[in-house]
């Protein structure tokens, strides 16, 4: 499989819903697709990164209305363990058709839970729509705090939007200030688990999306699985999105491919380096555990 995974179509898109666009991170793809899927009965509810009890700290949440979806729109650049709710969503919440949004690693977790449902009773056939968001790396909440408060000199509670793009981490405050830090400085804050991650564009999602490749305010979208493709076609037919052919936007798929290749090459090197990190008594290398080889 190449670095962008299997997909049936790639396109640049933006929601036609103004309320969603106001709250969304990029083209509002995720919120709009869930709103459409709720409306159409494709899902009974969705697991999203809802508002938490500290500023910019997400809390995984099962939502069933558009209002709740809107309250959870936008990117929080810190871990939201959305998969923690997939069994719960089918039980306490009684959902038969679950939608879930997640980073590529979270989508991997969902597919493993479906193929090897070891402790995931009655979940496998209830995942109705798994939406992936592109992801280069993620941060602990404390790391995000350090970036916003120590590097960008802004209070977490005063920030209205955070964004990563064009080599910078940018925060926008409620009083109109814009603070930035270079992306290369955030490397030491990245959670270690991201350094062995071999997926950038959520290859295993039904549909995945991110900002990279498309103009500001637009998103790049991959419709991947049979199910994802049907949902995407339905949403287009229902007028949920404006679209542009991906080969007619700048910077287009080339940039997505470039970043995906860079991430995967770097992290594959990290995975390989772990194999020879130490030293045995006989002088041969001693390795760490490799999840891509065995448990």
């Amino acid at each position: 499989m190449d670095v962008l995974g299997n997909y049936k179509s790639a396109i640049s898109a933006r929601s036609t819903d103004k309320d969603i666009l106001k709250k969304a991170q990029d083209g509002g793809i995720i919120t709009t697709l869930f709103a459409y899927a709720l409306e159409e009965g494709i899902i009974d509810g969705a697991i999203v990164a809802g508002p938490g009890n500290e500023p910019w700290k997400p809390e995984p949440m099962v939502v069933t209305t558009k209002a709740e979806l809107l309250a959870a729109a936008g990117t929080r650049y810190t871990i939201s363990p959305n998969v923690s709710l997939i069994k719960e969503a089918t039980r306490s919440y009684g959902l038969d058709r679950v939608g879930i949004v997640g980073t590529p690693c979270q989508i991997q977790a969902i597919r493993k839970a479906q193929l090897y449902p070891i402790g995931m009773r009655d979940v496998d056939d209830k995942i109705a729509l798994a939406l992936g968001i592109f992801c280069m790396e993620n941060l602990s909440y404390q790391a995000l705090e350090a970036m916003v408060e120590d590097h960008c000199n802004q209070k977490m509670e005063s920030v209205v939007k955070m964004d990563i793009g064009k080599g910078k981490f940018t925060v926008y405050t409620e009083r109109g200030a814009v603070s930035q830090m270079p992306l290369k400085l955030i490397h030491k804050y990245v959670q270690p688990g991201c350094n062995v991650c071999l997926d950038y564009v959520a290859n295993l999602a039904d549909i995945s999306s991110g900002s990279v490749g498309s103009p500001d305010g637009w998103s790049t979208v991959f419709a991947r699985s049979t199910k994802g493709n049907a949902v995407w076609d339905g949403a287009i037919a229902a007028g949920c999105f404006e679209t542009k052919p991906i080969d007619q936007v700048k910077p287009g798929l080339d940039l997505v491919t470039k970043l995906a290749t860079e991430k995967i090459t770097k992290n594959q090197k990290n995975v390989d380096a772990r194999k020879t990190i130490g030293l045995k008594a006989d002088g041969t290398p001693k390795g760490l555990r490799n999840p891509y080889e065995s448990p």
Binding site: I79, N82, A109, L115, G119, M120, Q191, C197, S294, P295
Partner: protein
């Protein structure tokens, strides 16, 4: 359709939750029994007294060393089966029987309980307490493909079953601590939350994006670690998730 495989369940020191799980696949069980497998040995479900020859033996429960019959039957099951499966947390890891110190009714003299791999070689683990019916179904279908399928099916089944066989090689101690030792301490956790969603006794919560295990609640079932995408993630199988899920669904229709 090729000849069916034979499956049995040997019941040792377990609560029968594993056996109930086998039946919990509902219509799935009938389909399995109609087309793929004959159940040749199982408490209540099959009227056979002595451990027979079988392709796959699912062993439920840990082995009580103070009960000679358990030890003998386990060895007999090993000798008479092609694939011996530690079915459920107790067989694989001891699970709650790890806390037994004897003195309990109605067998106060029985106090030594071990995961079955202390007594026999085990080929494959299906952890969790209770195991999940869909996992049992998947393993049963894959075992059928492995023993009766064409070359391509054998290859798929081997790839699918390999991590569960590797789990059996990994050892017979499980705890929520594995998330610390073998995932977080190894620099592999990315905070997906799967472990917390998996734990049958809710011993795992996510605190600031990482699992926190309440070790007093943990019953040592091994589900959290096995389900974690950073315990193993076999791309050769996962990349084909759609095809495999469709195939299993098709097989069960």
């Amino acid at each position: 359709m090729a000849e069916k495989i034979t499956i049995g369940e040997l019941h040792l020191s377990g609560c029968t939750g594993c056996l109930v799980t086998l039946a919990d696949t509902y219509e799935g069980l009938f389909k399995l029994l109609d087309d793929y497998a004959d159940l040749v040995y199982a408490l209540t479900l099959v009227d056979v007294r002595h451990v027979p020859e079988m392709d796959v033996c699912l062993v439920e429960g840990s082995c009580c060393l103070d009960d000679k019959i358990s030890v003998e039957e386990l060895k007999e099951a090993r000798a008479k089966s092609k694939v011996l499966v530690a079915y459920g947390g107790c067989a694989a890891y001891g699970n709650i029987t790890r806390f037994c110190r004897g003195g309990q009714w109605n067998q106060p003299g029985q106090e030594a309980f071990v995961p079955i791999s202390e007594v026999v070689d085990v080929d494959l683990y299906i952890p969790s307490c209770p195991p999940c019916p869909q996992e049992v179904r998947n393993v049963a279908v894959m075992a059928y493909l492995l023993l009766r399928g064409n070359d391509e099916q054998k290859k798929l089944a081997t790839a699918y079953l390999t991590p569960l066989m590797q789990l059996a090689q990994r050892g017979n101690e499980a705890c929520g601590c594995d998330l610390m030792y073998d995932v977080i301490n190894q620099g592999l956790c990315m905070g997906c939350g799967t472990c917390a969603g998996t734990c049958p006794v809710r011993a795992v919560t996510m605190e600031y994006g990482k699992p926190n295990v309440n070790r007093d609640l943990c019953i040592k079932c091994g589900a959290c670690y096995a389900q974690c995408p950073r315990s193993w993630f076999n791309f050769d199988v996962m990349n084909n998730y759609e095809g495999i899920m469709d195939a299993i669904k098709g097989a069960m229709q």
